[in-house]
Amino acid sequence: MPTIYIDNKAFEVKAGKNLLEACLSLGLDLPYFCWHPAMGSVGACRQCAVKVFKDEEDTRGRIVMSCMESVKDGLRLSVNDKTATTFRSQVIEWLMTNHPHDCPVCDEGGCCHLQDVTVMTGHNYRRYEYKKRTYTNQYLGPLVNHEMNRCIQCYRCVRYYRDYAGGKDLNVFSAHNHVYFGREKDGVLQSPFSGNLVEVCPTGVFTDKTLKEHYTRKWDLTNAPAVCQHCSLGCNVIAGERYGQLRNIVNRYNSEVNGYFLCDKGRFGYEFVNSENRVTQPLIRKRQSEAVNRATLMQHMSTLLSGHTLIGIGSPRASLESNYALMDLVGKENFYQGIPDDLVYIEQKIVDILLSGAIHTPSLKEIEQADAVLILGEDIWNTAPVMALAVRQSVMKTAATHTTEQVAIPLWHDMAVRELVQDAKGFLANMTVTASPLDEISASTMRAAPDDLARLGFAIAHILNPSLPEVPDATDAVRTQAMNISRALQQAKHPVIITGTSCWNNALVRAAFDIAAALDLTEKRAGLAFVMQDCNSLGLAMMRSSSFEKAITSAERSSNVTAIILENDLYRSVPAGQADAFFSSCKNVVVLDTLHNRTTERADVLIPAATFAEADGTFVNNEARAQCSSQVFMPANSEVRESFKWLSEIRSLKTTAGNGHEKHPDEILQALESKFPQFKGISRSAPPHDFRFHGARIPRESHRYSGRTAMQANIDVSEPKPLQDDDSPLSYTMEGYRGPAPSPLIPFFWAPGWNSGQSVNKFQLETGGSLKGGEPGVRLAEQTGVTPVFSRDIPDAFTARQDKWLLLPQYHLFGSGELSVYTEGIASQSPAPYISLSRHDAERAGLKEGDIVTVKSDGKAYSLPLSIHGSLPDGIMLVPAGLRGMDSWSWGGWVNISTVKV
C-alpha cells in the first residue's frame, strides 16, 4: 500500500485510487461535486482542489484537482493549504453567483450537498452583485420535479442519466453559464431509473415530486432502514415518516445489493402505505355492524378455530415472521404457498439449486463486476430493474477495464475512459421472449419461446461440457449462437448467467444451471442468478410448502374449513377460477391484509395488517440474502398490527398455556431457524431486539427533529411519552446513541457537516466500498464445492399450434406491481390491458391492431384489445401480468381465441 503525506502526516492508502477518494476514505472532509463514487471523475467542477508538492523541499506546490490525480507512493499534498482552501471557497463563490439561495423553499434544504460544501469551504460573503441568470423549468413527469435555477452545472445528472443508466431523453444544452440540464421539450422522463436524479443532483434541481405532496425536511423525518417491497432484489431503502404518513423513500447504500441506486418503482411506489384503501378496522362480515374491536375479533376467532380444519395460505410478499407465524398457527401440513403449482415447482428447483451448495449465486455487485453475462429468458428490465442497471454496468465496465489495461489510464478517470471505450462493450447475450431495452447493449439477442431458449441453454452447456447431451435437431442458427455465447463465457473470468421464473418454465432454470455448473468445472467462478417474482418469494419457497392447488384439494376434502389468508390477493396470485373454487369450499375465510382487494372482499373476517413501513420483518431476496426491514412508524391506529402479531395472538387462543409474552420478531426467527435448517443463521441478519450501546438505543429521529413538544398540541398540550418499540434496538426518539450503528440498524445517513446523502462516505470503509462492519443481511446459500448434478433433461422444440397459443405474462415495471400502482405517478405510466400476438399470427388469424379479442383462461373469458408485437415469436400470446384489476391467468398454459369484435 502506498504511503502519502497529507499536511505532513503519513497515511497508508489504497493504490489505484485518486487523491479525493483517498482523502474521503481516510475520513477527511474534502468537498467535491462532479465526482461521484459510482461514476468516477471528470475534473469539471474544480471544487476538490488541493495542493501537491514535488518533494519535502517544495514549499510552493501547485494546485491540482484531487479527483484527477492518482495516489502515488510518497506523494505529498495539502488539504489545508491556504491557496487551496481559498480556491475551494472561490469555486463556491462562483457557483453561488447564480444560485437562487432559496433554501427555505427548496426541497433539498437540509439534505443538500451544496449547502454542505458551502459551509465546509467557509465561503460566506457575496461579492457578486449582479442579476442572476434564470431558466424556465420543465415538466418532467409525475415523479421528478425540475427547478433549473438551482443548478450549479456539475453535470452529475447527465452523466448519471445517460452514461450510467443509459437514458436518452435528458441532456445538457446551450453553453457558458447558461448550460441547461433537461429534456429537449417538456415530457415524462423515459428512464425508469430517473428517480435517482433526486439523489445524484447535489442541489434542488431534481427533487421528489411525491415528497412535495406531503413535504417534510429530512431532519423532521422519523426514519428506519427498510427493504424495498416491489421485486425480489430487496434493494435497501430508508423510509421516512411524519404525522403518521410515509413521506419518502431514499436509497440505503448497500455495496452488495443496490449500491447507490434504486428503480423508480422502489423509490416512488410507497404511497400505498398512505392509501385511503387501507384496511383500518377488524371486520366481521354478515353482521349488522361489521367493524369490531379487538376483543370481539378474538372471541370470534376462537370460535372459528375450534372444531374447524385450519388452512393457512402464505404470501410471497409477507415477511418470514408473518409466514412462519401462520405456519405455526395452522400447522406445517396445513400451510400452503398461495401460488400455483407450476410456479412452486420452478421455485423449488431454484431453492434446491441454491441450497445444494453446488453453485455460486452472485450479488448485484458481483453482477456489475461480471465480464460476460447471459440472460436466459428473464425480462429483467421489468422484473428486476436494478439488476438490469447492474448488467449495464458490467457491459460498460468490462469494456472500460479492457481498454484501460492497455493504456495507463485509471478506471476512475471517467472522461478519458469513455473516450477510450467509445462504443466498445462487454459481452451480454439477452435471450428473451420479447425485446428489451437491454438489447441495445447486447452482443447477442434471441427472440424465442421459453423452451427454445432453454434448448439454446442446453446447447451452450453441451459445448462447454461435451459430456452433457447434445440438443437434438438444433437449428444452425441456434448452434452458431450457442457457439458464440459459449466462447464468450469461456473467455470470461467471472461469467454470470441470469434466469428467473417469469416465463413459468422450469427448463430455463435447469438449462441455466447446467451452463453455470459446466463453467464452474473449468475453474471459473461462474455465477447463477435467479429472479423471483416478489420480495419474499424465495423466503416463502425455502419453507418448502405446497402449492395453492394442494390447498384447494384439501379444502375440498373437508367440509369445515377455516382458511386464513396472509397478505395475498389470490386473484392476482392464482387464476381467478381457482381462487373462486377455493373460496367456495371454505366455510370461513379470514384474511389479514393491508389494502382492500378482491380477496379481502371474500373475507368473512378481515384483519388489518401493517405494511412494511409499520412492521419489522425479514425478507429473503433473490440471492438468498435475508434482510431485515425495520418498522418506520407505529400506526396511530392500534388496530393495524403486524400480521405476525395478530397471528401469535390468535395462536395463543388455542393454547391454554403461555405466559402472555408477545414474541419479538427475532425470537420468531430463532424458532424458524431451529425448525428449518435451511434458515440457519437468519437470526443474525440484524441485531436482536435488546441490543444496546451502553444501554442506549439508536434513535430513528435526527437530533434536529423539530416540534416534538408541539406537534400533538391540538390533541394534548403536554408532550406525549415517546412510543416504545420493544421489537428492535431502534427508538422513537431524538435521543440515544449517535455513533456508528451496526449496518442493519442505520436509520439514515448523516455525519457532522454532511447533512446530504453524500454523508454515506463516512459510513464506508472506503468510498464506494463496504459499510463499516459489513453489509446488512445474511446470505443463506453459499457454494460449498458439492459436485453438481446436471439436469440433462432437454425439452422438445417449441412448435406453434393451430389456433392455440402459449400464454405468457408480460411484466411491466410500471403497472405490474400490486402495491406500487397506488402511487398515481406510477399508475399513470402503466399500460392499459391488452392481448399481444406476433404480426404473423395476427395476420393469419385475420386480426388487426385494436380488435377486441376474447380469450378463455381457466374457465373465465377476457376481452381485450389486440396489440401486435413486432418482436414476439409466433405461437405465443402475451398478456400483461398483474395490471390493476386484472386477474392472474394460467400462465404457461395454452389458450384459444373464442371471439373477435372488430
Binding site: V42, G43, A44, C45, R46, Q47, A49, I63, M68, F87, Q90, V91, W94, L95, T97, N98, R127, Y128, Y130, I152, Q153, Y155, V172, S174, A175, H176, N177, H178, V179, V407, I409, H413, M415, A416, E419, L420, V421, Q422
Partner: protein, 454 residues
Amino acid sequence: MGRKLLFDKAHIEGIRYYDVYRANGGYGSAEKALKSMTPEQVLDEVKKSGLRGRGGAGFPTGMKWSFIAKPEGVPRYLVCNADESEPGTFKDRYLMEFIPHLLIEGLLISSYTLGCNSCYIYIRGEYAWIPDILEQAIAEAKKNGWLGKNIQGTGFDLEIYVQRGAGAYICGEETALIESLEGKRGNPRIKPPFPAVKGLWDCPTVVNNVETLATVVPILRIGGDEYAKYGTGKSTGTKLISACGNINKPGVYEIEMNISVEEFIYSDEYCGGIANGKRLKACIPGGSSVPILPANLLLKTAKGEQRMMTYESLADGGFATGTMLGSGGFIVLDEDQCIVKNTLTFARFYHHESCGQCSPCREGTGWMKRVLHNIEHGKGKMSDIDLLWDIQRKIEGNTICPLGDAAAWPVAAAIRHFRDEFEWHVLHPDEATKRNYGLAHYADPLEIAAPAAV
C-alpha cells in the same frame, strides 16, 4: 521587400485553381515527398526547419508529429484546425480562400508523413463560403491524381473531408474539436490521454493549424535547413500576421520573423503606420488571448531592446512586461481607444464562448464581463478593479482547457498596464459614459507600470 514562402505566388491571377497552381510549381513538394522520400525523411526535414505550430501555442511541429502513436492495425488521423475564431485572427481564411491548393498539398505531405489515410479540415462555421472553395480544390486535386487511391502511382491513399463547425470558438481547442468531429458537444477533454495517442475515434490523431500545415510545402521545396535560415533563433521561417485596428493598411501579411514590431507597424510594406495621424497607444500582437502591451513596452522590451516580431522577443519579460506571438492576430489601438471598453469586448467574447464545463471559466468569465461592464458604464467601484484581478487570478491555470487562461490574461494585462485608466473610469463616471475613449498618455514613454499584485 521581406522574403515570402507562402504568399510568394499569391498575387498570380487564378492561383486558386489547380491548373495555375500546378503551372507555378504547385504539388512539386508533394511529388518530391511522395516519390523520392520516406515519411521519416520528410519528418526529418520538418524537424530541421524548426517549424512551430501556428495555431497559437507555438509547439514544435516536428516534435508533435514524432509523438504520434503507431499501434498495429489502428488508423491515424490528421485534423486540420481551420476553426480560426480568435478575435483579430483571420490569416487562415486568406490562405484557404486564395491558395487552397497550398493547404491541400500541405495536408497531403503531412498525411504521408504521419501515415494517415483520412484527413479532416474542421472549418469555422462562419466561413460559410470557404468550404465550397476547399471542396472544389479537393475535387480538382482528386481529378488530377493528388488525392484518392494510389496517389500518383505511389500506392499512398488519402481522402480529405471538410467538416463545418457550428460557430463555437471552443471547437478550435483541439480536443473540443475532436469531440465535435465525433458528433458530440464540443467540450474539451482532459489530457492525458493526448490526441497523439487517443484522439479522433480513439485513434492516434494530430491536430495542426492551417498555416502550420501549409508551411510544410515550402519547407519541402527549399529543405528544412534552408527554411531554418529564415527568421531568427527559434522563430524560424515566415509567419502570417493578420493586422487590424487603427492602422492604415489592415490585412494579412507574411513576414519573415526578423523584423521589428516597430517596422511592422510603421513601414509601408506592412501596416503603414497608425491611421488618421494618431499615436500608437497599445497593441495585442497575437490574437485576443495574449496580453495587451502599452506602446512603450510594445516597441521596446523592459530591458530597452528593440522588440522583434518573433516568439521569443514578444514573450520577453514574461507576462509582467511581455506578451506572446500567439496566432498572429495583431490588433492595434490608437490613442483614442479605451482599454476598459476593449477589455470588456474581449471578456464578453470569452464569456459567451466558454463551453460551460468547468466552474472557474463558466462562472468567472461572466462575472468579469459584468464588472467590466459596470466600470465601462460609470458604475464601477475602486474595489471592482481588485475584484477583477482576484477573479482572473483564480481562473488562470485552474481550468480544464486554456480558454480559461485566454479569458484571464487580457484582463490581467489590462489592469497591469492600464490600472489608472480603470481608476479614471471609476473616478469620472460621467465622463466615462460620455467619452468613449481612454486616456491618451500611454503613447508617450512611461515608467513600466508595476503589477497590481502577484
